[in-house]
């Protein structure tokens, strides 16, 4: 029943009303609504009446009006059961197609599930603080025209200075997470025991930062734990390790045999939450610490990460600006006073940013973050890839459903004749697709559980399947319904649109040609696959390039003995003992090594007498011994190596080429340069990589010095095991209380590029999944084609076509699609990978070979996929195919 001409409420609202109302109420309710509509229109205006009508409709969505969707007596329920039955029979009848649909979707869903767990985990870092929204970390920004730099280390006085100046800042605290003095790693023992154990989780922390972060305590109180100088806060796990069940407060720990500086336990905290970025087992108090005299009130020496807790409702951007201004007010004059060229740059380009603590984990890629962190880009990339794999699986479903449409046409026609409306049919097909996705989801969850260990290895996480979680089943049901709807909606509309007369009389096209839409979808699938293949090839090529590049030193066969500082003055003895082993060629001692996790520092150099004129050259000074260059196989270009016996070599430097260039020295040998003291250059070494290859090679100076906590040993041996045993024996003799720890330099080097390796693995994993899903679809389509054309093939064979001709006939169409995919994928993947390689200072040329390999791989796989069915069809006996005619 349509309303009269004059009653024209908003149509959609009327339809909505009809849709949710039961038969019992619709007539009288709708009548009242129309009447009210007219009353309002006469009293006010059409617009007011429309609005009022919509309001009435929504106000009627109440229990009294709703139709009972699942009532025992209604027809819908019986129909629904019938639909389910038909859907199930259809699945069982076409086993192969069902298998393809289900397995493709299952893989897609498994990928989605794994990635979702990964993303949830990544996003869940640093979220469990008291008043977490008020805690910020301070970032330095320098936006000079050449490049924008951001970093985290601040001068020691910044925290307190800002807190005193700005009442918005409630608390301020500092952290030194670096490998610095007692920070980083140490040999640890109780003062009353002899045996050392190695621990690598030390950081310096202010008492006030502890109060900001509010860790749970086991012994002692948060307000007291780090108040005393030289107090140390340890985690529950370490307390149990060193003190078993007793209360360790007031007990003493000795770090690195440093008896001058014992540490007294001021408290025990719960084991750090894995998902907080600050998770050290040992926190050393900064109370009363002065690493050198006057440090705490000086503007020099940025070593401190600075955290603030601000008052509720503070606008962080406003505070940033105020703090920037306050910093420049003092820092710029300080620099100018000392004639530092840098003052202008600070005045011009420096500013502060406040990073919310919840963003620390995912948004610190550009900050030289030393703590373990993720990357929001990776989260996006993963999510995108997961959705793509799911989309590819949906495409399979759509392709196969529409391809098989001719077989359903008769059913659709009959149902329409008997009285089904289009809506019922759409519902029926959606029920079918949701049934398929439901089965797929079950299997997908199992696949995800099976792949979990592999996925954890790739992503570097330790995720678990949330089988115990209440939300798993509802969310999986939701997923099944959503995916089922996405995959099923187009086929449902497509299939339900058949005209009954044509459908029953068999006039519906038999889909002998792959339709344009199916072609586009296949192209899309293969394009994605090719991009992923190219991606993984390029990542691997870059990785291999970095691992095998001539670095300017020799990282092979170098064993790094750690923790040698506790040998104390017996270091020479240890080195000599080691040299007695026949396979040992060279032994050095230095904390500064060209791999990550070793010491770094930063100095400003000028050519002597030009400190007020030139811009400083920022350079590392590495303290090494006279065997260092030889042990690491570095290349002395000119000049000489250090001579330990010579007194004047205490102020000699050996610099690298970059430093010579930046100082503007054409003939560096014998030149005098200065930082806080004067130096003479005695040699130049060839540039070698000491930072990640993402950056370039910076200026570097080597000076004689004794910082020997790491002893690199160069060996030349066929039998590494035996050599290691000899080295261990020597060590144990010298250091009975400290077990030997060593690592291989090439392995440490490789670990610097773990994230690249990881990216590569992720690409490869998903490439395999995507290819698999795409091939499933292709296989299904080719099987369908062959089925459709079996009579044609038989007739051709009877008329004398060869197997080869038939084969070509069947495969050429698919090969065209694959070729188009390649044409699209190659430029796209080139651009994407070129973008990724921009991260690296030293990078490969992508080259044509990568694309050739990817093309060959995809073509071979596609041909193999299509061949199976095509060959089967080509060799079949024509009599079989024509029997029914």
């Amino acid at each position: 029943m349509k309303p009269d001409k004059e009653i024209r409420p908003p149509k959609w609202a009327d339809i909505l009303l009809k849709w949710f109302c039961s038969e019992r109420v619709i007539e009288t309710l709708q009548g009242d609504l129309y009447e009210l509509y007219l009353i309002r229109r006469d009293r006010h205006s059409k617009f007011k009446a429309d609005i009022g009508f919509i309001g009435d409709v929504f106000s009627s969505i109440r229990p009294f009006a709703l139709r009972k969707l699942w009532s025992k007596h209604s027809n819908t329920n019986a129909m629904f059961r019938n639909n389910l039955k038909v859907a199930w029979r259809g699945l069982v009848k076409h086993k192969m197609y069902s298998l393809i649909k289900v397995s493709g979707l299952a893989i897609g869903i498994a990928a989605c599930l794994l990635i979702s767990l990964f993303v949830i985990d990544e996003l869940g870092h640093d979220k469990n603080y008291v008043d977490g929204d008020q805690i910020f970390r301070l970032i330095n920004v320098e936006d000079n025209p050449a490049e924008s730099e951001k970093w985290l280390s601040h001068q020691p006085l910044i925290a307190q200075m800002m807190k005193e100046q700005f009442p918005d800042i409630e608390m301020a605290g500092r952290l030194i997470p670096y490998n610095w003095f007692a920070g980083g790693d140490n040999q640890v023992r109780r003062a009353d025991r002899k045996q050392n154990a190695y621990e690598d989780s030390f950081a310096y922390m202010d008492q006030e930062l502890l109060e900001i972060l509010q860790p749970k305590m086991v012994y002692g109180s948060i307000e007291e734990a780090l108040t005393k100088p030289n107090s140390i806060l340890i985690s529950r796990e370490k307390a149990e390790k060193y003190f078993q069940d007793e209360n360790p407060i007031g007990k003493t720990l000795i770090l690195d045999e440093n008896l001058e500086d014992p540490w007294v336990v001021g408290g025990v905290m719960e084991n750090p939450d894995e998902r907080n970025h600050i998770k050290f087992d040992f926190l050393l108090s900064l109370t009363g610490q002065e690493f050198w005299s006057g440090e705490q009130t000086s503007w020099c020496c940025s070593n401190y990460n600075t955290y603030f807790k601000v008052a509720k409702g503070t606008d962080p951007e406003l505070l940033e600006d105020k703090m920037t201004f306050a910093m420049k007010e003092q820092y710029v004059p300080y620099l100018k006073e000392r004639g530092n060229q840098y003052a202008d740059a600070v005045e011009e380009y420096r500013s502060y940013k406040l990073q919310p603590i919840g963003e620390v984990y995912l948004h610190s890629k550009e900050l030289n973050e030393v703590l373990k962190h993720g990357d929001i880009g990776v989260v996006w990339l993963f999510s995108a890839i997961a959705l793509f794999v799911l989309l590819l699986a949906c495409i399979n479903f759509i392709n196969l459903s529409t391809a098989k449409s001719a077989n359903r046409a008769k059913e659709v026609g009959l149902r329409k004749v008997v009285g089904s409306f289009r809506g019922n049919l759409i519902g029926q097909f959606l029920i079918e697709s949701i049934l398929v996705t439901f089965i797929s989801t079950l299997i997908g969850v199992l696949i995800a559980a099976a792949l979990m260990p592999a996925f954890n290895t790739i992503s570097g996480k330790s995720l678990e399947m949330p089988f115990a979680e209440w939300w798993l089943i509802p969310s999986m049901l939701m997923l099944a319904i959503v995916v089922g709807t996405i995959a099923g909606i187009y086929p449902a509309f497509y299939l339900s649109a058949f005209k009954p007369i044509e459908a029953i009389s068999g006039k519906v096209s038999r889909g002998a040609k792959t339709s344009t839409l199916r072609g586009i979808m296949v192209v899309f699938q293969f394009t994605c696959s090719v991009i992923l293949i190219v991606g993984s090839l390029v990542v691997y090529k870059q990785m291999k390039f970095m691992l095998n590049k001539d670095l300017g030193y020799d990282k092979e066969h170098v064993i790094m003995l750690q923790g040698a500082s506790s040998v104390g003055d017996k270091l020479d003895l240890l080195q000599n003992e080691l040299l007695q082993i026949p396979e040992v060629m060279n032994v050095s001692a230095s904390n500064y090594l060209p791999v990550s996790g070793t010491r770094r520092d930063q100095n400003e150099f000028w050519v002597e007498g030009r400190s007020k004129i030139d811009k400083a050259v920022g350079a590392q000074i590495w303290r090494v011994d006279d065997d260092y260059i030889e042990t690491l196989g570095m290349n002395l270009m000119s000049g000489r190596d250090f001579d330990k016996s010579s007194v004047r070599d205490s102020t000699s430097l050996i610099i690298n080429q970059t430093m010579a260039r930046e100082l503007g020295l054409d003939d560096p040998l014998g030149a005098r340069i200065e930082n806080r003291q004067g130096w003479t250059i005695i040699g130049v070494i060839e540039d070698f990589h000491f930072e990640s290859m993402r950056g370039g090679i910076g200026p570097l100076a080597l000076a004689l010095g004794r910082y020997g906590s790491v002893v690199p040993v160069k060996v030349n041996s066929k039998n590494m095991q035996a050599t290691l045993e000899s080295i261990t024996a020597t060590w144990d003799e010298m250091m009975p209380n400290q077990p030997i720890r060593y690592s291989f330099m090439d392995e440490v080097f490789a670990s610097m590029y773990e994230d690249v390796q990881r990216t590569g693995n992720v690409f490869t994993g998903f490439a395999i999944l995507a290819i698999f899903v795409a091939c499933l679809g292709l296989f299904g389509l080719s099987a369908f084609m062959v089925e459709q054309r079996s009579k044609e093939i038989s007739i051709r064979k009877v008329l004398g076509a060869s197997i080869k001709m038939i084969f070509n006939l069947l495969t050429v169409n698919f090969m065209k699609l694959v070729a188009i995919s390649l044409l699209i994928a190659i430029p796209v993947s080139y651009l994407l990978m070129d973008e990724w390689l921009l991260d690296f200072e030293f990078r490969i040329e992508i080259g044509w070979l990568v694309f050739a390999i990817a093309s060959v791989i995809i073509t071979v796989i596609a041909i193999a996929t299509v061949s199976y069915e095509s060959l089967k069809a080509a060799v079949v006996n024509p009599a079989k195919g024509l029997r029914s005619e």
């Binding site: 007539e27 309710l29 009548g31 009242d32 969505i61 009294f64 009006a65």
Partner: protein, 109 residues
């Protein structure tokens, strides 16, 4: 039979409309008497509920063109409905006794 305050108003309106009580008429009357109009959803909801409780009976009829030819649903107050109104009034009286200076115009006798 216990009824809510809004239900009581609806019963009163239906009762006072006599033979002419259907959705829109009840709504208009309530607007007139109370100064605010209930939403149509709330009103229908209450009418159906009261019918279920046995306070009202209904019959359909009287389609008009303003209603796009839809039939009206006429409601009549039943004896159960009348009892419910009386009961609700009693409760009100009980309370008003204990409130100083509140006279609801009922004789104490």
């Amino acid at each position: 039979m216990k009824i809510g305050a809004f239900e009581e108003l609806v019963l009163l309106a239906v009762g006072s409309l006599g033979e002419e009580a259907y959705g829109v008429a009840v709504k208009e009357l309530l607007r007139e008497k109370t100064g605010k109009s209930p939403s149509i959803g709330a009103l229908h909801s209450a009418l159906y509920r009261l019918e279920d409780k046995g306070c009202l009976t209904s019959h359909e009829g009287g389609a008009t063109s303003e209603r796009g030819g839809r039939r009206k649903k006429y409601y009549l107050l039943t004896s159960v409905g009348k009892d419910a109104i009386i009961e609700a009034n009693k409760i009100r009286m009980e309370f008003s006794k204990n409130i100083q200076g509140l006279n609801l115009g009922m004789d104490e006798a």
